[in-house]
Amino acid sequence: MSVLKNDLMPVRTANDIVVVRQHVRALAIELGFSLVDQTKMVTAASELARNTLAHGGGGTARIEVVAANARRGLKMTFEDRGKGIADLELAMRDGYSTGGGLGLGLSGTRRLMNEFELQSKPGEGTRVSATRWK
C-alpha cells in the first residue's frame, strides 16, 4: 500500500471536527467517490473525530490517500493520548457507550468503511484507523 497524500490535522476543538469532515469530503470528491460513499466517509470521520475529542481529550487526525493493487482509497487515522479503552470487544458492541451517546460510533464506523482497526491501551491512548476503497 503506497501513500499518495498525507495530511495531519489537529482535533482539539469541536470546530476541528468540522474542518476534518470538510477535508475528508473534499478528498473523497477528488478521488471520485459516489455521493453515498462520500457521505459514509464524512460520517465515519465525524464519529471518530468526536471520539478522539470526547473520550481521548483531543488528538490528531491523519487523512491519507492510499493506493494498492491499482485501487485508490481514503484512509483516516485518529490518535489520542487519552485514557484508552480497557475492553476493546465491549467498546465495539452496538449500543455500548461510556459517554451517554447512542453507542454506535465505533461499530457503526466499522460498517461504513471497508477496513477498520482499533488499537488501545488503558492509560496510554487510542489509535483507530479506517479505510474505504474506491
Binding site: 453515498v36 459514509k40 460520517t43 461499530s107
Partner: protein, 290 residues
Amino acid sequence: MTPRDTSVLPSVLQKRSGELLDAWIAHQTSADGYRPDLMADAELRDQSRELLASASAAVSAGGLESPTHPSWQATRQLLGSIAESRATAGFAPTATATFVLSLKQPIFEALRKDVQNPERLADELWNATTLIDRLALQTMESTLEARERVIARQHEDMLELSTPVVKLWDGILALPMIGTLDSARTQVVMESLLQRIVETGAEVAIIDITGVPTVDTLVAQHLIKTVTAARLMGADCIISGIRPQIAATIVHLGVDLSEVATKSTLADAFRLALARTGHSLGRAPARERR
C-alpha cells in the same frame, strides 16, 4: 556605552524630516509593491508624513528607551488606523509592513551623512533598525487585530443565524434546520421548537434536515431526543429531508429511526401532517377555478 542616551536619531529625524519624507516616497513609488491603483499618491504622502512626524515626536519624547514608553501611544493608534485603511483598500499585510520597513533606507542614508565615526554609526543604525522593526511589527499586529475583529463578528453573526420555527398550518409547525448540527446551537434550536409547541398547542412538528450535510450518531441522538420530548408533550414529529445518501449512512451506522415518522421531502411531510390533523387537501374542480 549607552548609545540611547546620546543618540542623534531624534535630532536627525527632526532636522531632515522633509528630506526623509521625499526619499521615502521616492522609495515607495519605485518599489515592486507600489499600487497607485489602490491608493492615490496624495494619500500615500499624507500617510507617510503623518507616520514620520508621529514617530519623530515619540522618539524625541524619549520613546527610544522602551517600546512601552507612553510617547508611543499616538503612533500606535496611527499605525492601527493605517493598517485598517490599507487592509480595506486591499493591500496584503506584507505590503503594509513593507511600507513601514521601506523607511529604513532613507534613515540609514541620513545617519550616514550626519555620523562620521564608524563605531558610532553602527550604534545609531542599530537604534534606527530596532525602531523601524518595532513599528513594522506593530503594523502587523494591528492588521491581525483588525482581521480578528472581522472573524469574531462573523462568528457572532453565525450564532445569531438561529433557525426559526415556522407555522405551516393550524396545529402544524416546521423547523427547517441548516448547517452543522453538533454544536450547542442545536440544543438551543431544539428547545425553541419544544417551547413553540407549548405556546401554539401544535399537534405535529416537522423537522426538516435538507440543509444538514452530515447526520452522524450525535445528530441522530439530538433528533431522537427532540422527537421523544415532543411526544411527551403530546405532539408528533415528522423528520423530512432525508436524502438517499443520508438514509444509506444511517442504516449502516445502525441508528434506529423506525419509531419516528420520516419523509424524503418537506412536501410529503406536510401532506402527512395535514392528514394527521384531519385536514384534507385536494384540487378544486376545473369550473370553480379562476
